[in-house]
Symmetry: D2
């Protein structure tokens, strides 16, 4: 399988390259970056020195014509420039931007820009849409927060047990990208937890969309924040239930729902560094009267982005979803 990456100079692109270097079936054959055109991979991603002999090209679709699949790891609004053309050439696409995650009108409202090349795509959480992904040519890779939150409560939503749920999420700062900003400035983050978009983060419509497939009438609240760390999203889902469930009942429900899901691990306690660098989503469950607390931990750059994208790629090519992704977390 020949793989291309449009937008390979950022964190998400670098992470795709890191993971694909360990993939037995995939070979990266083209990577683009306008800014670094002509440069070797390791001049941009020094940590990858010794792994690739590639040079960055420009993102024109022609440069990717021999690829079987292309990852678009570009800013929101740019994937739509490439995806339709790639699909026309018979190339599968996994889009890591938000361009194909939402219905056209919701996308335009949420991201404040026109969608000039709308297409239907499959929403790429394999634990929920595995069969559709296998048949898809265009997969919209989910946002990092949606991955952590949806996986945290999907089993309860499926049983329509949720009255309302408050997601209080903490993300590592890599979620803000590789460009320095006030947000990523070291003194602004150390010794702090920084809430932002407290009631109106644009990942909320994605979360609602997916949970509503299971249960239409649930109420969803979402507050994100960054914590002083590089990778990881810890999601505290405070779930107000219809009726009471013991801790044992909760675990049973989740075991059942995630029975064949290699990347979901139920743990007594979750810890971000117990999933760091890996594609796992660890989940632990707590119960107290009418409230359940579900805590999920993912690496935002892996299960929350590039790892899940490769998991989708595997399925789109008929491989087991874990091929090349059985990588233990880097602990501690």
């Amino acid at each position: 399988m020949k793989i291309g990456i449009i937008g390979a100079s950022g964190y998400t692109g670098g992470e795709l390259l890191r993971l694909l270097a360990m993939h037995p079936e995939a070979e990266v054959s083209a990577i683009s970056s306008r800014r670094f055109e002509g440069k070797e991979v390791w001049k941009v991603h020094a940590f990858l020195k010794g792994f690739y002999n590639l040079k960055f090209c420009t993102p024109e679709v022609e440069n990717f014509s021999d690829c079987d699949l292309v990852f678009t790891a570009v800013p929101h609004g740019e994937a739509m420039l490439y995806a339709p053309k790639l699909l026309e050439l018979g190339i599968k696409v996994v889009d890591l931007s938000a361009d194909y995650r939402l219905p056209k009108e919701v996308y335009e409202k949420t991201y404040g820009k026109k969608h000039t090349a709308y297409l239907e795509a499959v929403y790429g959480i394999p634990e929920i849409h595995r069969e559709e992904i296998k048949k898809a040519n265009l997969v919209a890779n989910p946002g990092c927060y949606p991955t952590g939150t949806i996986l945290a409560v999907a089993p309860l939503a499926k049983l329509e047990l949720i009255e309302r749920v408050v997601f209080d999420c903490k993300s590592g700062i890599t979620g803000a990208g590789e460009s320095p900003s006030d947000f990523t400035h070291y003194p602004n983050l150390h010794e702090s937890i920084v809430p932002y978009k407290v009631t109106d983060h644009r990942h909320l419509p994605e979360i609602v969309q997916e949970l509503s497939r299971f249960q239409q009438d649930l109420k969803v609240y979402f507050t994100p924040q960054v914590f002083p760390g590089s990778r990881g999203i810890l999601t505290n889902a405070h779930v107000f239930l219809r009726g009471e469930l013991s801790r044992e009942e909760l675990y049973k429900i989740y075991e059942e729902f995630y029975r064949d899901c290699y990347f979901i691990r139920l743990q007594d306690e979750v810890k971000l560094i117990q999933v760091r660098g890996s594609n796992f989503c660890d989940i632990s469950l707590y119960s107290a009267n009418d409230r359940a607390v579900v805590i999920s931990a993912i690496d935002n750059m892996v299960k929350g982005a590039s790892g899940q994208a490769i998991q989708n790629m595997n399925l789109m090519f008929g491989l087991k979803e874990w091929v090349g992704l059985k990588i233990p977390p880097l602990f501690p």
Copy 2:
């Protein structure tokens, strides 16, 4: 004013010493530590070298007989050994343990031990109990989480506007004390947010007790966690309201409630390092339909413990509550 500290070798004791070194009216005249009896302050608190010539004594009450006020900064269950005797000697007491925060039976159930010397005390949040504190001889200094959570929503509770509230709190690791443990082991905390006592932390009864004074029928949920930092508690209060309030209305309610409170600062955005080392509680407010999000930031060692204890001491001696505490935060 002569001040004593029973249990002066831990973080809370060290912080009392730090703050009292800058207090114009208080002089520390006796400090105890069984473990370090006979040692100079700076042999235990090297950071205080040059500030005190005191040596640690044993905690017998006689060693504190010339004090006007004693802080008991000992583990839960030990303050009850000293407080009654000190009071008998006419010495005022601010207890930083949990021994006098709750009614006897609630205390015994929550902390799993007999209370052998129960007394009525004033709960020491000056912003709420200022007048009673002025007249008190025994003040129960609040827990760190209760301080952050109660201050976050008291104005709404007073107006009986809360249907339910979820407190999702993140504390610096100094809250776990100066003894090394798995919990405080560096590799177990870095790059992580660690929830614990997810549904049953023993600070919950304190929070409920104080908020119930304002509004009896509210529902309170509380999940604490530690974050990779030393000081600070960030509280996200997800408040489900009876009716809707705009952001402006929220700020107005809080300005009114905290009108004469030097240590409460309403901010557009709060940040833990913007209160670090100081006695401030910064608060910011957000609104979305039926939910308000209130975010409060305190330094768990200052407003959450030793600073608030000195604020109480000031009031008990007829001083302005901010005497010796007008210390700007250490930013960044």
Copy 3:
């Protein structure tokens, strides 16, 4: 005493404001920032909300005409625009930039720019130049690394005991200023120690200049790096001695040299957080054959910048150097 700050919106300016808020003799009467002209202090320094009612003005010297002393906390090359005019108006100046630390030609070579208003100044390390500072109208406040390194080995240099010395220094990232950059980008610093200007940092001439006053023939080597923390400079001085000295002899030499220096504390072991937020320079000493290792710890923003500037201010006004600076470190 009326105090002005030209360039008050950055970290150094904010730190001056933090410290001066606790100074019993100084009143800040004018602060400038081109960028934030007309804004209140707390809109830029939110952590100072409640401490100042000032607004930022422009840096024209006229705005500072009622000041007794002005701190110039501006980039290198800009202090020379203000210092001479201020001095002409009879206003004392403590310059926190590099403009007056070096002889004209050394400055121009090191900083790569013309010096358009050269004046003789006193180099502001009070522990070394106290008497000259008392009489000075213009004091050049030292660089952060020079402060930590010079104080670490001055006692040995004075006795001409040094053959050569390697300074391996680790600084908190606030030394890089408040503007986001690749250097201050959180993911680039966390879990790392980042050496930079490995053999040619521009603080080297300052260090050599001051140590040469004591001992002309010593050889000085200097490698700086940043560590994942906000404040502090830890200096490891690997000193190759002429002859051997035991640990006890080392401590004796330092006690003698720093006899009347309030801000120098000899410790068994130093720790950055044991000086954090304070004006102390803690020093510990180790000996092994022909090598001594001297470790010094300062807060780069206090003793390495704004605190030392106020210490100089005190001396210039005939006050004890510690007035307003007896602030215990913020530990831990």
Copy 4:
């Protein structure tokens, strides 16, 4: 190849398990831990849930009789209890303790204990002893600091160019092990760099031993410290040269020396997180007159311990040294 690990519950053991899970030729068949005997791997190493079905056994040699090679990851002084017996059974041994790194008398003096089962072993830095390792049955895996320091200056020592060298090393705190202590207590490390064993760390004899093989008359100085991070050792080697070398000449010497060494990467700048989780040793070189500064970066748990142990294992079995270890670093 069947692999055993004696002492598999600590960080080093966990890291061996992490890396061996990705090794195509090795199968872990027995692991011991007295403390956790009978427990499944994931009950101790939760991050490895899903990777192993093994249970911990006791460390008796009989439990490892079907192994081809055993890693001894036990405290200093314990490996000598197992290594000779394993070798008698024809089982190869890579010892990660210090027991076989030094001559008997040096070991006894350095570690303060009798060596009750001394044997000659090969010192396991493949870049230096590759051919001997291929033929060895007992390999002494180097200490973490020795790995970083020796690799940093071996090329210069081989040419006998070093007059003296000062190693100023910064290690992540995992080097202190998985047991909580004052040293690993979060508040004692955050915002700090903590020197320890400033002139007399017990890794010094190892460093001297290996560098002396190349150049007998060099002088070595070594000061270790921990920094606020989990993994990594950054070594600053301040080398005083016999004669001057330009930066280009330095790079040439290192390229030549490390020509066929997959795990040595010469970089313009090194960064700890650019080697994190991997077996690489990145090196950058600087020159100024008579001093060269060599900076090396390793992950102390991989190239500084378990990764190098597997590299040795590969060679002992006739495999390419990089088999199973072509794992890209986890950046950022």
